[in-house]
Subunit: 432 residues, 2 copies
């Protein structure tokens, strides 16, 4: 579900590059521009992607300036022969060229830092259209350009995402957001362990919520993100609306929300472990190291991640984790008793406060009628107490690994949240 | 570097959806369409991304049909109120609507499979423009449409990538590729362990190569992909040109090529282990499980991956891998002797044929002047023979993990390729 605001200023973006039109490189600039401009209260109504072709670029620029007051062009500002955006824009705005000393100094500074000699192609980039304001680029050698004509404004930015974002933040957004104009703010509530349709059922009647915010849900195989968007006259007003809406939603679905905005599940779990002064050890079979990889993506995780054993073979499960060979023979390596023994085993061997273990059939081969591909057992143990849940995923091998790792980290989150009154996360009706 | 062919038929694509123009969802359809059409000998010269807005869609369609003979539109074909593409196209081509029984049967079939009752919104999708040819969609409920007018052809496809690709393969490509027309084929040579500039130096004079193919290089932090593209009158001709060009390039850079097209480093290494009947065990510190995760992404990897130890703490390095506490105290956990001891240790404990070990400082904290962030030691051991290489990466934590894992898998590849005459992969001049 998604609804879109009206009555806000419109912009268009033009993405230039043969590598994009040919599908060789995936464009991400248009999405970044749309997101950041929308947050500044400007709605991107159209994106044009054109090749490094003078006529194509000119047509797109003229058409866009005919429809909207703000146009952002990215790409084609470098020094090589296929970078033609600068000359097209100079012609379109009736401008000659001049050398810009600050742009030149910047090129020299960057080449000096790299310890390289400046090439003639790089030097070309200090020649800029006389009628443009120069947007100085600290991250690269090609400066951005700002053209104005009557009420119309055109920004030209380099195509390298890092440089584009730098100039977007430094020059475009401060001018695109009209002073005193309407503001738009977003908040992303990140959930896992619940399907999208069930989430909307739990929301209940949407009217009270929709008086304050727009709600959009974005499902993936790892969970559903719920995006709240609020319009207002001030930052305080939008923040207040988002706070209220988040509170309302947390009453209904708080259980399933693991983080907000850029928070990842591994970061949230890491903070809980740090706060509680607990250490963790992991025993992975079908996830093959992915849980450990995610846990250790967090800076500072060496404080609480003691170790992890990827025990792919039965022998390793026995030798490394003390899982009885007889237990494996009786129940099979993918079973509840083995998952529990793995969690207890890794917890004890590593002298950790929590042991987390996963065993399952990632596929595409290895499944049977009784134990199909996608069957996964996840267990947690504190040594004294051990719990296990059974999951049935589907799809392909890598997705099964990703889903199992996500479910395991979420179980860990719920366990850390209330390790004294555990209710499985698939129970659904648990209140916090 | 990238050069683009001329004198081939042109097409334009139009991507419809508020979720795309707003930046909420990253468009991938335009890149897929461009790639697949280019392979069929059709060059996408322009992409327009517009919102779910009747006027915007109509403008884009009319403009595109004015410029090229082939237009592909995706999105806005579903049954909800913001899906307006179908009605815009019907109006543009002067067409009324009719019910299509086969489309209806398909909707019923899909709902029956899901065990759900058909909603009125879903039913709406069997109403189609009279003047369109229907493109039956086995993957979803919205059929695609094909409109013709004079020499112009417009395909309208659903926006869901899976459904879009299905109809692209089934209907668009067979008609877009003109019978007897010129063909384009690609081959991607994937390299790692060498910077892009050095690669082009090794290529030498490009003229002999460019007589047969176009060459484009695509760098990332994990390696450089070299794309060869060949035009020809038949599939045999393009394949022959690509074979010759690949042979020429392999003389210069064969050392660094680990795979072709969709081959991954972990798949290539897995095939080598399988062929040689060897097993592997991994000891990871700074990569935190990523090497094991990648190795086990390959179906069938349980045949050769015995186990893996993520030994984040010094205690775990000693207890699990038998790395002497005194050795760690003397050299530090991030050192050549410790990496070598880890590789030997995991090889012996797991009774594997090869032990692979990584220790390093992923950052952003934990670095010193002597041992900066990005310092990584990677070691390989067969028990008898042990080798170690030192790497200096930069950038952020996750990228350092990714680079270290890539370098480790590449060392393993070179070791397996000639385990009797080892030369470090950074040596550069080794001949195969």
């Amino acid at each position: 579900m998604f609804s879109k605001a009206v009555d806000v200023p419109k912009a268009e973006t033009i993405i230039v590059g043969n590598e994009i039109t040919s599908g060789l490189v995936q464009d991400t600039n248009s999405a970044t521009l749309a997101k950041r401009l929308l947050e500044a209260g400007v709605d991107v109504s159209r994106v044009s992607i054109v090749g490094d072709d003078e006529k194509q670029i000119e047509d797109a620029v003229v058409a866009a300036l005919g429809r909207v007051d703000l146009v952002v062009v990215t790409g084609g500002l470098g020094g090589t022969h296929d970078d033609v955006t600068k000359s097209v824009l100079a012609r379109a705005f009736g401008s000659g060229f001049r050398r810009d000393d600050e742009a030149l100094a910047n090129i020299e500074r960057i080449y000096q830092k790299r310890g390289a000699e400046i090439s003639p192609l790089a030097l070309k980039q200090c020649w800029v259209p006389e009628k443009a304001e120069i947007l100085y680029n600290e991250k690269g050698t090609a400066p951005g350009l700002l053209f104005k004509k009557n009420e119309k404004v055109l920004f030209a930015l380099p195509g390298v995402p890092l440089e584009m974002e730098h100039l977007l933040e430094k020059y475009v957004l401060p001018r695109a957001a009209r002073p005193g104009g309407i503001k738009l703010a977003h908040r992303m509530l990140k959930t896992t362990g619940i399907p999208e349709s069930r989430l909307w059922e739990l929301f209940g009647p949407m009217e009270p919520l929709e008086k304050m915010v727009m709600v959009a849900s974005l499902p993936s195989h790892l969970g559903v993100r719920v995006r709240l968007s609020a319009w207002g006259n001030t930052d305080e007003e939008t923040a207040h609306k988002l706070d209220l809406a988040e509170k309302l939603l947390r009453i209904q679905i708080g259980e399933y929300i693991f983080g907000v905005d850029d928070e990842t599940l591994e970061k949230v779990v890491g903070e809980m472990l740090t706060r509680q002064g607990k250490t963790i050890a992991v025993a992975e079979s079908c996830t093959g190291g992915l849980i450990s990889h995610r846990l250790t993506n967090v800076s500072g995780s060496s404080e609480y991640v003691l170790e992890s054993a990827v025990t792919y073979s039965n022998e390793a499960k026995t030798a490394r984790l003390g899982v009885g060979a007889a237990l494996i023979a009786e129940h099979g390596a993918v079973s509840r008793p083995v998952a529990e023994a793995m969690a207890r085993g890794v917890c004890e061997t590593a002298h950790a406060d929590v042991g987390l273990a996963v065993t399952g059939i990632a596929g595409p081969t290895g499944g049977t009628d009784e134990k199909p591909v996608g069957l996964v057992f996840i267990a947690l143990s504190s040594g004294e107490q051990t719990l296990c849940e059974e999951f049935r995923f589907h799809q392909d091998r890598v997705r099964n690994k990703e889903r199992a790792a996500q479910a395991a980290l979420n179980m860990l989150r719920l366990w850390l949240k209330s390790s004294d009154s555990w209710v499985p996360c698939s129970g659904g009706e648990r209140q916090d």
